[in-house]
Amino acid sequence: MFLQHLSLVNFKNYGGLEVELSSKINCFTGNNGVGKTNILDAIYYLSFCKSFLSNNDAVNIKHGDALFVVEGRYQVNDSQELIYCGFETGKRKRFKRNKKEYEKLADHIGLIPLVMISPYDINLITGGSDERRKFVDGIISQFDREYLFDLQRYNRVLAQRNFLLKQYGKTGYIDDSVLDIYDEELVETGQQIHIKREDFVSRMKPVFQQYFTHISKGRETVSLIYNSGLSNQNFREQLQSSRDKDKQARFSTVGIHKDDLDFMLGDFAMRRLGSQGQQKSYLVALKLAQFEFIYQQCGFKPLLLLDDVFDKLDSDRVEQIIMLVAQNNFGQIFITDTNPQRIHQVLSQIEGEYYHYHVSPNQLERVYETI
């Protein structure tokens, strides 16, 4: 599956744009602020029905205009899929597949799987544990509705339980028999979530390590550890033994809502000791492992978007990453970079098709192509 043609109307800085795309590698190079990332964002829109930068659709309309349209023509096996996204200020967002409008946007998400690697991923390392749980939950629940259901249930029970504990702080009274019920319900859904997260991480880890070793040319060893209180001790017993602590703290102190992913460089935390380049390499490897996971689950290769991914990386690593993604394991790839020479130098060594676009304000020019 790949995106053949992209057309934009009043999307961000583009008044109108038509791009023909290669089924393999597409590079967009140009100076800061010319709109390289906006092209990737448009492609992201067609997969996830939203911008990866903001949840507000209105900010994506070209300044001074009232609507934007993003259209993509995809080749899927032998047939074509035409995806349309239109948004007009004050109206709802419209999504169409082959000219037929979707009733729910959720029905579209998943049709065109996509993995994006962007500078914002750094939050996964520097941000709180909720960022990493969101990363794991987002991937698993794409393919497992039962997981999503359990997660929603768990969070609902947790909210009620925490509310009860908070009330205890105000009134000094708490009904332990209701806490017992909530504990049982947390155990029931929490254990399922725990099993699936554990399974997910154990499947991701070897793929991730392999990619990292490739990018770093084996100079560093990294690991990915699923850190959960449920791994060592029975969840039900934990809830029982921390009941008093929970009452003191006025919230639930144990459970899968405290889970984390530990990103390790050797024996140390990547967050503390990793250089910016090492952190970036780590994230790229992690996202490529995510790619592999989605590929295994849905049976075809997601689109891969690499936004400004080579910033902060040494030339060795840049070369390793491009060589890696240009192999047949990956499908269609979109890359943005400010340095046209760097990318051209590496890509000219590989076999296979690639398009190189030079982006200048509001327009694109194809400067190079190989077949």
Binding site: R145, E146, Q160, F163, Q167, D175, D180, I181
Partner: protein, 222 residues
């Protein structure tokens, strides 16, 4: 030529009038506000209803208010099951033809009416008056759970059907009752969950369809 500046004065009475959609009478306003308190009724619909009542003959409008007053004053809740009733016991509890060995636990009177409309049930009811939800300020003590437990000791109840919502709060309430009855001999059951009757399978959501598969039932040819 310089334009004279517009002087803005603030009259509190005028402000209040404007705020309530500029109704010409305060009496009308009060009536509209009362109607707008009803569920599903906005200011516009309230105004329409009030104007309608105003245009009716006085006897008709009086009949309307009298009916409501009587309803409010005379309708009681059943001492046993907390269903609405005109007497101490409701028409279901006092009906000797109902099966008093089965009791169906529901959240509100609305569910009693819904289940009665099925004509499939001949047992008794127990109305809880809500479901356990601390966030809405409802704990077990705010519901008619104690009286339910008491009924299992005083009445010849053999089976209890838990007919609560399938939301997390409904399940919590069912589970709470289950715990409370753990030492009792009453058989507990709950409504079947799965594909609705007359549904196309392809339109069923994954969770419902998945659960229906896991909890499939034996098929005997019809």
């Amino acid at each position: 030529m310089e334009q004279p500046k517009e002087v803005i004065t603030f009259d509190p009475n005028e402000f209040v009038l404007m705020d309530l959609n500029q109704l010409p009478s305060r009496l009308l306003e009060n009536a509209v506000n009362e109607f707008a308190k009803l569920p599903g009724i906005g200011k516009k619909t309230a105004l329409r209803l009030v104007l309608h009542l105003l245009n009716q003959s006085e006897t008709d409008t009086m009949q309307f208010t009298k009916t409501i007053e009587e309803m409010k004053k005379q309708v009681k809740t059943c001492n046993k099951c907390h269903n609405i009733s005109e007497d101490e016991l409701c028409s279901i509890c006092s009906n000797p033809n109902r099966d008093n060995s089965v009791i169906c636990v529901v959240e509100s009177i609305k569910e009693v009416i819904a289940i009665e409309n099925t004509s499939q049930y001949k047992g008794l009811y127990h109305v809880l008056g809500g479901r356990i939800s601390p966030m809405d300020g409802i704990g077990p003590k705010d519901l008619n759970i104690e009286s339910l437990i008491e009924r299992t000791t005083k009445e010849p109840i053999h089976e209890m059907i838990l007919a609560l919502s399938t939301t997390m709060e409904g399940d919590t309430t069912s589970f709470y009752i289950y715990r409370k009855l753990s030492s009792s001999n009453v058989v507990l059951s709950t409504l079947a969950r799965g594909i609705s009757v007359g549904d196309e399978l392809e339109y069923a959501d994954e969770i419902t369809l998945g659960r229906s598969l896991v909890n499939r039932i034996p098929y005997h040819g019809k």
